[in-house]
């Protein structure tokens, strides 16, 4: 009887645990695809300048509220040539700000500084700013957006 009890409890525990663990580990197993997301018309990004742009993260959940609003910096190097930087400092993810006069990005948290091409200028960041891949479609600038940029993207 005891063996029967232990066996039944064991089987019961396993088949209960499977969905519970599957649910809890869900975020690591679900596949979220980045999507090409528009930052708007090219006219918003004059040549030689770095401009602030926002978009709604294409990875949505029903209760996100404003938290999927995302910011980035767009640098138009020359006609049809761009760099799109994530807003997140490569040190600890705080939002970097662009200073057009000194052509630097500065971070308010620990003072990371980057040059206009996103490369590290000073401070604690281990690398330059994270960049989005971009393409131009029908006069609009699109970026490959989704996952919050992080050091695992380091190359």
């Amino acid at each position: 009887m005891f063996k029967l009890g232990a066996g039944l409890m064991g089987i019961g525990a396993v088949i209960t645990a499977i969905p519970v663990i599957g649910f809890a580990m869900g975020p690591t197993r679900r596949k979220y695809a980045n999507q090409w997301t528009s930052l708007g018309s090219l006219e918003k990004f004059p040549i030689g300048e770095t401009r602030f742009a926002t978009f709604l993260n294409p990875i949505k959940q029903p209760t996100d509220g404003e938290s999927i609003k995302t910011a980035c910096w767009v640098r138009c190097i020359s006609e049809g040539k761009f760099q799109v930087f994530a807003i997140n400092c490569a040190h600890l993810g705080c939002p970097v700000r662009w200073f057009a006069q000194s052509k630097l990005f500065l971070c308010p948290c620990h003072g990371g500084a980057y040059y206009e091409d996103g490369s590290r200028a000073a401070g604690p960041p281990p690398r330059g700013l994270f960049e989005y891949e971009w393409k131009v479609v029908d006069g609009n600038l699109l970026i490959d957006a989704g996952r919050l940029p992080g050091l695992e993207d380091s190359t």
Partner: protein, 493 residues
């Protein structure tokens, strides 16, 4: 008349006796109230009780907030504003919850320092200490998840900092980050995960650990005040302790509990006054991540970590960030095993007193650094600070132009002039006594020493102007720097 009183009395006594016989509440509680504690256990021993009291406040106010708070990223911030401004006494409940949380961390820290200094963790109370360490971790986790509940800008970017740190974990970093955030971004599921941690998992763990901690106190008794020359010997300790406590101990209630009551009562009144005067914490700016004109800072219990990560060189910071917490927690867990016997008196354990003093000073100064954060550029210094008059009065047009470039190119965000500006770089009030114009040109254009290179960012006209301005920055009675590397001439009077 007497007959009625007698009947009522006997009915009540009977009911109490019935309740006791069926439930055993009295038999459970009485030993806790009457257990004997050392006679000399005086005011040093009140901090554990105060921690427990603040935890109780957290449970009560937390349940209150749970009836109003909307654990949804779309509504959490609004619901807090509603609790603060519309719900009767809502702001006070939030204030109590916030202040009591800080008070609990403080009391817990004092309790831990006292136990460490008195070496109460020695045989046979090793597990008391270890459950205490887990309680500390649980309470800190409650504090961090509680900050996330505010779902304001600090909460959002604080999560970003957490994500950036977990990202650095080798091999499984991004999976652990996904588990923490509940997906690839900070969004709706993130708040709900932290909500489940903050109101179910962590309080449950804390209640269980408190129960265990108290049961261990009952099992081993409260430790006595340490005495020089009375080392703990595991072979004889328990018997000797029990004999001493039997002979010289006093019952917990009322001898010790009255002190707990005095201290806890005073703490509670102080808490209510603090909460009523200073009000609730936040919520801060609305959780819109495109509002980047923000200055994310963690809550007080984590300010020292925020300070510490600014000091790490980029080459080693990932290792330090990931290994230090393991070493700290591991070290705390090992404390009772590294010193399980021997002297308890602080005067016989100078090294341990130094460890405690060093830890307190380190955490206090890192907290101060975190709060003042001198490493952060002052983002609006360039656009808002005046240039002190004596730095521009009587200067040539080129030098005055340089003062404008200095301001315009955000130099001021990192460098002070006349005591105002960023503290990231050195103050430049006397820079001309230290660097020649050639050295200044080189430093500004090539950077170095944690300064960006401005060579490509300033035109040559701007460069000569700013160097001309910097070359004037010296007290009038001191000579300007001359040949690089040469000894500075003594000031002539």
């Amino acid at each position: 008349m007497n007959a009625i009183v007698r009947a009522v009395t006997s009915a009540v006594t009977g009911a109490i006796a019935w309740l006791e016989s069926r439930s055993g509440v009295g038999a459970f509680v009485r030993p806790m109230m009457t257990h004997r504690v050392p006679r000399n256990a005086k005011w040093w021993y009140v901090f554990g009780s105060a921690t427990l009291m603040f935890f109780t406040i957290q449970v009560v106010t937390g349940v209150c907030l749970g009836t109003m708070y909307a654990p949804s990223a779309a509504e959490a911030w609004e619901s807090l504003r509603y609790i603060d401004t519309v719900v009767p006494a809502g702001w006070m409940i939030r204030a109590l919850h916030g202040w009591s949380s800080n008070a609990m961390v403080v009391m817990m820290a004092i309790h831990m320092i006292q136990v460490f200094l008195h070496a109460s963790y020695k045989y046979p109370r090793e597990l008391n200490w270890i459950t205490g360490v887990f309680l500390l971790l649980t309470v800190l986790a409650l504090a961090f998840t509680g900050q996330v509940m505010r779902w304001d800008q600090d909460a959002y970017w604080g999560l970003g900092i957490g994500a950036s740190i977990t990202d650095r974990i080798p091999v499984f970093g991004s999976q652990i980050r996904d588990l923490m955030l509940g997906g690839p971004i900070i969004g709706g599921e993130t708040l709900n995960r932290f909500f489940a941690l903050h109101v179910f998992i962590l309080p449950g763990a804390a209640i269980g650990l408190v129960g265990l901690h108290l049961a261990l106190i009952m099992r081993h008794g409260i430790s006595e005040m340490p005495k020089r020359g009375e080392p703990v010997d595991p072979a004889t300790y328990t018997e000797a302790y029990e004999a001493r406590i039997k002979k010289d101990g006093v019952p917990f209630h009322p001898d010790a509990s009255q002190r707990d009551m005095v201290f806890c009562g005073a703490c509670l009144i102080a808490l209510v006054v603090l909460a009523a005067v200073y009000g609730p914490f936040g919520p801060g700016g609305e959780p819109d991540p495109t509002l980047i004109d923000t200055n994310p800072r963690p809550d007080y219990p984590f300010m020292w970590i925020f300070g510490a990560v600014s000091l790490l060189p980029p080459s080693s910071e990932t290792v330090v960030m990931l290994v230090t917490p393991v070493l700290l927690v591991g070290g705390l867990l090992l404390v009772p095993f590294l010193g399980k016997a021997g002297e308890r008196a602080p005067s016989r354990r100078p090294a341990m007193v130094l460890v405690a003093a060093f830890s307190v000073i380190a955490i206090a100064s890192l907290t101060w650094e975190g709060m003042t954060s001198p490493w952060s550029p002052v983002m609006n210094a360039w656009s808002s600070l005046p240039t002190p008059g004596h730095f521009v009065r009587g200067r040539s047009p080129l030098e005055t132009q340089g003062a404008i470039v200095f301001q315009y190119a955000q130099c001021r965000n990192c460098h002070e002039l006349g005591g105002l500006g960023g503290k990231r770089g050195p103050s430049l009030d006397e820079i001309a006594t230290q660097m020649t114009p050639e050295q200044l040109t080189r430093q500004v254009s090539q950077g170095g020493g944690n300064m960006p290179a401005y060579g490509k960012n300033l035109s040559s006209a701007q460069m000569s102007a700013v160097v001309a301005f910097l070359s004037t920055l010296k007290p009038s009675d001191e000579a300007a720097a001359e040949i690089p590397g040469a000894l500075l001439p003594l000031p002539t009077r």
